[in-house]
Amino acid sequence: MKNYVIIGGGVASASCIEGIRQIDKSGKIYLISGEGKPTYCRPLISYYLQGITDFKKMKYRPDEFYTDNNCEMIFGKAEKIDAVNKTVKVGDKTIKYDRLCVATGSSPFIPPFNGLDTVKNKTAFMTEDDALYIEKNISPDTKVLIIGAGLIGLKCAEGLVSKVGSITVSDLATRVLSSILDDKCASYMQKVLEEQGVSFILGDSVSSFDKNTATFNSGKVVDFDLLILAVGVRANISLVKDAGGETNRGIIVNDKMQTSLQHIYAAGDCAEGYDNSINARRVLAILPSAYAQGFTAGINMAGGNKSLNDEFPLNAIGFFGLHALTAGAYTGEMYEEKSDKNIKRLFFNDNKLVGFILIGDVKGAGIYTSLIKNKTFLTENMKKSLEKSPSLAILGSLTRSQKLGGVV
Amino acid sequence: MKKEGEIRIPSGCAISAVISKDGNKMTGEKIIESMIPMHDRSNGLGGGFAGYGIYPDHKNEYALHIFFNDKYRIEDCERIIKDSFEIVKKEIIPTRKIPEITDEPIIMRYFVSPLFSLLRSLQLDEKEFVVRIVMKINTEVDGAYVFSSGKNMGAFKAVGFPEDVGRFYKLDEYEGYSWTAHGRYPTNTPGWWGGAHPFGLLDYTIVHNGEISSYDANRRFIEMFGYKCTLQTDTEVITYIADYLIRRQGLSLTETASVIAAPFWTTIENKPEKEREKLKYLRTMFSSLLITGPFSIILGFDGGLMALNDRLKLRSMVVGEYNDKVFIASEEAAIRKMEINAKNIYAPQGGEPIIVKVKEGKF
């Protein structure tokens, strides 16, 4: 009987358990979690602030998930991995493993701003605790400054906008969601947020903080009551790095989610897997990838054989009812369709769909996604049909009949 | 009211029969008595008997029993008879005057032999020839009716209760190896002597209890072959069917039973192949001669009896034995009346023919 140890309590950890249990029903699973609570969905904290969900609903799996899967929870911080003796040290305990999965996720990255230590009310926006902190420190008059106009910063703004006096979002980049959208699409989204009362300072950066005031490089001064730092995240790689494992921005893994250390796997935001859309390694800090990686690691840890090599960036972003779904890479020839309410961009490269951006009407987006994933070769007619709307017409009658008439 | 022949008359009935397998002679006394306990199965509108082996002195001649409404018909009828037959003997059938039986017609008996020369010129089988003449008299001579036409046998029938009819015809003075009897319960006839049962053609006689639902299908089919169903009674059509199948098609009694009370297709399917093919052949070949609806019949013929119920057994009929004798009747009481010690009493299944033959050479 194998001993499985998983470090981390996020989505990759939960899917790792599901992966292991698909193969091995009896081996012992130890789960080391620093946060001290069962897996919840971190992306939901903004919806929590908004009042759409609560902590109870935010649980990723039912309460009985861990007991049903015969997992022993160890709350505490994993301090050291001994890859030779195959142990993990947690406080004064040393846990032996046969297979280890590192799913330590990422931590907020806090740049070394001048005078940041003088700011009293400040937080990152990543955990339930962060959300609770914010909730405690706001009133209808609160002025909020959010550093970072990425997904985390903007979701935070969306969650708070109706509950506070004002929100200013700043970013060094000249557009919002700079890593996901181009200028045109970004300004489209920005407009929606502005209509709801969010202010933006873009292409600018805080030069210094002084208590409740932020001074920007441009000289602009912003007063605030609460500072939220959403600049970015860094993968938590130190445990593996210290144990001698190969790392880059994330922990390097192969398509079986194995690290360079024997019997040690990594999955989720801490791992640097393979991005199929750019044919290169990359940390894919998105939930679908976390799940897939954790599950793949679990299967392989339990003795199964599963490869994961069709991951690529997928983002579902929505603010105030306007949704943007994006996937893959924005390279190659672009097909664009634009109206007041909708943007559709499809990126074709080498007769394949490699990426898309849909804003507004997002129905059927998954059909595009699957074409990227399967690297489906597209004829001109198929492209035409795709441009019109995403539909299974693209598959042709035979494949479609099999898919709709058979077991998938 | 319309009488038999003008309208179809359904009726309920009592039937009874006895036969000696050894060919021992019995007077008509027992068979008359057997009808007494079944009195309620008749309503006084018809009764009759058939006796086999009763004319040993004329066993080579056809015995024609004929009702005449009046003496003028006799001449017309005899002209036809004389054209075709040599009349060996002619007499009035002796009867006993009793108050229960009234309005009797003139009842005559002729022992006849077909004219050989005529038979040859017509290229006809003797029996077929007799049948044609009987049909001719019955359809062409109004007021004359041949009600018995076999050799060494005779039918005796009248309007009245059967036990009275038996006494009227003095059947206690006849001796035969086999007897059948019938008591009738017709529902809408004024009562006509010719309409009483048994019905006979050549040596075939039928006593029948039932009302067949296949009547018109059977009638319209059998009439294609020269039979004329002048009485519109079940007994008449069943007699013709028996004659057609046995005499003209040459079927055995068992095969005949498989036609008129054919097994259900589901039963046929489950039979062994040879039997199955045979039954399927018979049912397909003679599908219009299947008889449905309730019946229990006793077919009398030269040297034997066959009793048969419809395939659902919708009418009562029991069989019993004692020594050389076999008894068949609508009710066990009738059998007990004939032989108090009768054994092996049982009710045959629907469609199961009971065939009793007198040992070869004993009749």
């Binding site: 759409i52 969900t53 997002v362 299974l392 077991v407 | -």
Partner: protein, 142 residues
């Protein structure tokens, strides 16, 4: 397990399935009241490929990528049926982004919807199947 299967050979493109679906999931007992003058949001939709038409709804995949991608745990698969807990769903539409059939439908009510085989509504038996005039949609074991 019984599932909904589509035989495009018999699909007439009448779109009745969409209306029957919308009605079944409306909570109303009268179709006119449920659908008149309303934009419908059915969980099944009819697509066209030239002259061929066919209905598409959730395949309840063996390995449902929507469930795996759901950020809130609202999507789950129980007894072979992929269902969505509308209380847990926050409407991020990651499921819409990943479903290769386009069978998870975004709505403007902070939630995605999808075919749940009418097991949760009053119909109790897939309304699209019941109402299909030509057996192009069937509910059976395969």
């Amino acid at each position: 397990m019984k599932k909904i299967y589509v035989n495009e050979k018999w699909c007439l493109g009448c779109h009745l399935c969409e209306y029957n679906c919308a009605f079944a999931n409306s909570g109303e007992t009268d179709m006119v009241k449920a659908l008149k003058d309303k934009e419908i949001s059915p969980r099944i939709h009819v697509e066209e490929d030239g002259k061929i038409t066919y209905a598409v709804s959730c395949r309840h995949c063996e390995d449902p990528v929507c469930v795996k991608s759901c950020i809130s745990g609202a999507l789950s698969k129980k007894d072979g049926v992929v269902t969505i807990d509308k209380n847990k769903c926050v409407g991020c539409f990651t499921c819409v982004l990943v479903c290769p059939y386009g069978a998870v439908i975004p709505t403007d009510k902070h939630a995605a919807i999808k075919c749940e085989l009418c097991l949760k509504n009053a119909c109790g038996y897939p309304a699209c199947v019941k109402g299909c005039p030509n057996k192009a949609i069937v509910y059976e074991e395969r």
